[in-house]
Amino acid sequence: MLRNDPEYRRLKVGGHGALGSASYWLGKRHLLVVVVAGYIEKYQRFQYRDVQALFMRKTRVHYIWGFGFAAVAIGCSLGAFQTLKGQAFANLDTESRVGCLVLLGLALVFIGGIIINALRGPTCVCYLRTALQTAPLPQVSRWKQAERLIAALSPIVLAAQASTQATPAEKPLEPQSPAEGGAGNPAPGGLA
């Protein structure tokens, strides 16, 4: 298990969603993303030296959640007032009292949802770019979470890339003599 592995450190990002869960682990040389979807556990490894950029794009999903919660909370509150029928709560019969309390309880739950949604901040989608792909990072759906991920990941990536840059990355190709012909440079006359 990664939790008991000293080589890995868990990041406090990711979580559960409708289509599964994801957790993020910082290894010695790579970021490991473990995605559990149904009965399959998938692993994505991003080598620190290959990470080119991290993006986060704001989305409007948090507004939809907020409006949805608000609409239900208002509906429940109106329903609770409707059960009062202009009377005081103490004068209601038992059924109306229970109905009123249930509706008020639901309204409170959804008001709690609005507050939690507001505290969690705006929603976003997060991507990690390497030379070969721009991969979406699953379950990093809040801006604050994405910032936490960047704060944890960027110093490690910078350190890893600084150490790889210390060695010359690439030399310009020099003309090779036929005797030195490598695999990609067949010798004249078709002799390998």
Partner: protein
């Protein structure tokens, strides 16, 4: 494939201005106006690395590659010790491997680094136990026994990296036994009561 060093908006594809490497910046896409947080790293400026070419043996007595007898060996395989040329050397997490060891490691699941998925048998067992729970008296002979068979047969399967698979399998087997016991008691009682009524 994103082999160019230009950054583009993930929504509309408009090219973005890249920031100083290592510095997080907030920017707005000129195409769609969406707000973007962006951090770039020095690897963005690097040209994609090209593959190495193997050098030919020039002097007699030089070590040669196990797979290419005319190529100079540069490193031994960390797994099997065979000499490898630059073309055959596969560097993986700081280890130098030959193609055969890489393939064997992947097939036998000895190399965790190249493993990209595992089946969660503990999840399957628990689904078989939990989903039919309201009808477990009737369904347990099939579902609970299937769960027990899976748990026993897949005991040695590679465990999950994030959950305690063995513990979940043990608990699953216990719950499966309880469900089976309950089912046996239920059927026993149903059969005996109908037998008494008939008598």
């Amino acid at each position: 494939m994103a082999l160019s060093s230009a950054l583009s908006c993930t929504r509309c594809g408009t090219e973005l201005q890249s920031s100083t490497p290592g510095v997080q910046s907030l920017t707005r896409c000129r195409g769609c106006g969406v707000e973007l947080g962006l951090i770039t790293f020095p690897a963005l400026q690097n040209r994609p690395a090209s593959g190495q070419t193997a050098e030919r043996v020039l002097e007699e007595g030089e070590s040669t590659c196990f797979y290419h007898s005319d190529k100079r060996a540069v490193v031994p395989c960390d797994q099997c010790g065979r000499f490898l040329c630059a073309l055959c050397d596969i560097e993986l997490e700081g280890k130098h491997l030959c193609p055969a060891c890489l393939e064997t490691g992947r097939d036998k699941r000895k190399l965790k680094v190249v493993e990209h998925k595992r089946t969660r048998y503990d999840q399957i067992v628990w689904s078989l136990l939990i989903l039919p729970l309201p009808f477990c008296a009737i369904s347990a002979p099939v579902t609970a026994s299937t769960a027990l068979v899976i748990a026993l047969r897949r005991w040695g399967a590679p465990p999950s990296l994030v959950a305690n698979t063995k513990l979940r399998l043990i608990l699953g087997m216990l719950v499966g036994c309880v469900e089976l016991g309950f089912s046996i008691w239920f059927w026993n009682r149903a059969v005996f009561s109908s037998w008494h009524v008939a008598k």
